[in-house]
């Protein structure tokens, strides 16, 4: 089991324990868990394993991490290796945060990109619009409309042209530079 997988199992285990706590309607201290392997089928390891099949060896690794991070604690000593366990406030917090995190991700819904053809640089995003052309055309219009002298306007536009023709800008904007310059009348 790699690290990422372990983190996922930690979330699953804590969510399972938190659900049990929620089902009883008491605080975290009121519920004790028995995750011992060789015990009656109605005990917690088997209940957890029903919906989340995992070997006891892997489960032990996950549970040990939970104990060391203080997501889970022993409420009493004795009994089996994973008997008398309680979810802690931190463990409950991780469970709730993970559930809310999953929920906010699913609320985002599917992002449909469709077919993307790009010869140059492309920006892919959700609900964002890349419109450099319009922005620059608007900028030239604003320069034209301004109260500056003709010389100043000419100077501003030539600086803009120099910016667009700079090799770095050209690399970023690709073929769009020519189109932008033509549209702006530069």
């Amino acid at each position: 089991m790699d690290r990422e997988e372990k983190e996922k199992w930690i979330d699953k285990l804590l969510v399972f324990m938190n659900d049990e706590v929620d089902n009883y309607g008491h605080g975290v201290k009121a519920i004790t868990f028995n995750f011992s392997e060789n015990i009656e089928l109605d005990e917690h390891f088997h209940l957890f394993n029903e919906n989340n099949p995992i070997s006891f060896e892997n489960f032990s690794q996950v549970m040990n991490i939970c104990i060391s991070r203080k997501y889970v604690r022993f409420s009493a000593m004795g009994g089996g290796r994973y008997d008398w366990l309680q979810l802690t406030e931190s463990g409950q917090g991780v469970a709730i945060s993970s559930l809310k995190q999953d929920k906010s991700l699913s609320e985002l819904g599917d992002i449909n990109i469709g077919t993307l053809n790009s010869n140059g640089v492309a920006q892919i995003g959700n609900n964002n619009v890349l419109n450099i052309e319009n922005m620059l055309i608007n900028l030239v219009e604003q320069i034209e409309k301004s109260d500056a002298t003709d010389d100043e306007k000419k100077q501003a536009k030539s600086k803009l042209k120099a910016f667009l023709e700079h090799p770095v800008t050209k690399t970023i904007l690709g073929a769009s530079v020519g189109v932008i310059l033509a549209k702006m009348g530069l």
Partner: protein
């Protein structure tokens, strides 16, 4: 008897105390998720507060026990002949 302890909200995943907030005096609302600036994970603000409340309860209990022990020791000493 005066004991002080500063308690900070700690990321539930990486235990960092740094969070991404709009400004220094920002007060998160109940139910809000706040992002850890170290691991980037979202933390449920209510849960973070519950953890801090538990820590403060534990601290107060520990200090109270310490105080009771001090009183007991002083009483034992003063009653000794």
């Amino acid at each position: 008897m005066a004991a002080e302890k500063e308690l900070k909200l700690k990321c539930l995943f990486c235990f960092s105390t740094d969070f991404i907030l709009p400004d220094e005096n920002y007060q998160p609302q109940p139910g809000e998720m706040i992002q850890c600036s170290n691991c980037g994970k979202l933390n449920d603000y209510d849960s973070l507060m519950r953890v801090v409340e538990k820590e403060s309860d534990d601290f107060i209990q520990k200090e109270a026990d310490k105080f009771a022990k001090e009183i007991e020791d002083k009483l034992n000493k003063s009653l000794k002949f």
